[in-house]
């Protein structure tokens, strides 16, 4: 799957919104940018439609912290950069679609996945003894059947911290990237362990006990493999 063709049409909107806000707001501005790796897991043998809502592309978090400054944190590009390779690694086939309605007309899809960034929190230390910037975020991953029925609404959170050195903006950026990688790790390793997903996979003829993202690439996972060995 490539998110780029769809992304291009929306990217200008994202940049205009971010630039307008960043130029006008003053205070502390962070545009989170990074490359994210494709997960080393065996993809589920399903064809998934991927809906990336505009709010995710254009996600900008603002918070006026008393005694500090107005913080503006843009995560849109990072969301796309993280979720693209993640879903490519998780599913055998992926296809960008604009909406759920478009999925209903596509008989090649086994399901549709729609991520949203529901919550974002961060903390920049003020005291002398606090050394870490912290970021916590929560995605909501919704999986639909092609007909529109909801399979699961799954909240996935990620936490990241980063040492506060000279620049608080850099530290926020690094902590956000750690939090996003954490969320991506949870999505990719725990997706097929969700009971609703197991049922859904069983319904479309794919047994989750033998095939799942928790198995790494290179061959089928053993049938008796523990689902979460790295507790």
């Amino acid at each position: 799957m490539s998110l780029l063709p769809l992304e291009r049409s929306r990217l200008p909107l994202s940049w205009v919104a971010a630039a307008a806000c960043l130029a006008g707001c003053g205070g502390s501005q962070v545009i989170v940018e990074s490359t994210f790796p494709r997960p080393l897991i065996e993809p589920l043998p399903v064809s998934m439609g991927v809906v990336i809502p505009d709010e995710l592309y254009n996600f900008i978090y603002t918070e006026d912290i008393p005694d500090q400054s107005l913080w503006t944190i843009a995560l849109g590009d990072a969301n796309v950069a993280m979720l693209g390779p993640l879903f490519e690694g998780m599913f055998q086939q992926t296809k960008d679609i604009d909406s759920l309605a478009a999925a209903a007309a596509d008989s090649t899809l086994d399901g549709v996945i729609e991520p949203k960034l529901e919550k974002f929190e961060f903390d920049v230390p003020q005291g002398e003894r606090d050394e870490f910037v912290e970021v916590w975020l929560q995605y909501e991953i919704t999986v639909y059947e092609p007909g529109g029925g909801t399979v699961i609404q799954w909240p996935v959170s990620g936490y990241g911290k980063s040492e506060l050195l000279r620049n608080a903006e850099d530290a926020v950026q690094r902590a956000a990237i750690v939090a996003m990688r954490e969320a991506g790790a949870t999505i990719s390793t725990k997706f097929s362990e969700q009971p609703q997903i197991k049922t859904w996979l069983g319904g479309i003829g794919n047994a989750p006990a033998t095939v799942g993202p928790q198995a790494a690439v290179g061959g089928p996972a053993p049938a008796d493999a523990a689902p979460t060995p790295l507790q």
């Binding site: 080393l40 065996e42 790790a185 390793t189 790295l230």
Partner: protein
């Protein structure tokens, strides 16, 4: 004025003696394995703790130190290794012991990916540098006749690190290196503040790097070298 100079000198001598670094290094190697031509080592920070984590620049200092010099080792980039192994070396998924490592390596594709990086040894770094004590004070004043400071400030930093070396080929622990470097800095102010600063983290990096190099290149039971540059 000469009297003032004499007082300054008299005060400075014990103060200079008071600042310095004390070091304790305890290597423990339990196998005869040594790194050979073509095998790489990667240095990773343990990130599971909520209150502390090894500083990025300390991990980088160890990596650079191991790779440096005529007898430099092949050191793999930490970031590149974490990306290639994603999502299995993130804070929530990284193996905590060699049993976890065995389970991870048994996953299809993981051992092959590790082999492709050339990494034979993973060095986990746990610990941090913290300010453990401080005291004193400096007062400055300015008037028509001039300005000046009087007083004495001091502080003590403790660099405490635990390194664990894993052989990822045989999924076993090679041993540990414990390092504790304490450094006391003082800043007397007689007209002007004179900072006499010690950096235990930098000393720890040099000492641990030398020890780690010896650890990886010498068989079991090697004798630990004394911490360099400590006084």
């Amino acid at each position: 004025m000469p009297q003032l100079r004499l007082i300054a000198i008299a005060l400075s001598v014990p103060l200079i003696g008071a600042c310095g670094v004390t070091a304790r290094l305890e290597p423990y190697k339990q196998t005869d394995a040594v790194i050979t031509e073509g095998e790489h080592v990667v240095v990773l920070a343990r990130k599971q703790h909520s209150t502390h984590e090894a500083e990025e620049d300390f991990v980088q200092c160890l990596s650079d130190g191991l790779a440096d010099g005529k007898h430099g080792l092949d050191v793999h980039s930490s970031k590149d290794f974490e990306d290639k192994m994603y999502p299995w070396f993130e804070p929530s998924t990284a193996p905590l012991n060699t049993d976890d490592l065995s389970v991870l390596l048994a996953r299809p594709g993981v051992a092959e990916q590790v082999r492709s990086t050339g990494v034979r040894y993973v060095v986990w770094v746990d610990g941090s540098t913290d300010r453990v004590a401080s005291g004193g004070g400096i007062t400055c004043a300015a008037g028509v006749g001039g300005a000046g400071c009087m007083g004495l400030a001091w502080w003590e930093d403790d660099s405490r690190y635990d390194l664990t070396v894993w052989d990822v080929k045989d999924a076993e622990s090679e041993g540990t290196i414990y390092a504790d470097y304490k450094g006391r800095s003082v800043m007397p102010a007689i007209i002007v503040p004179i900072p006499l600063i010690t950096r235990p983290q930098a000393h720890a990096c040099r000492g641990v790097t030398d020890q780690l190099r010896q650890f990886l290149t010498s068989p079991e039971g090697y004798s630990a070298s004394p911490p360099p540059g400590v006084g």
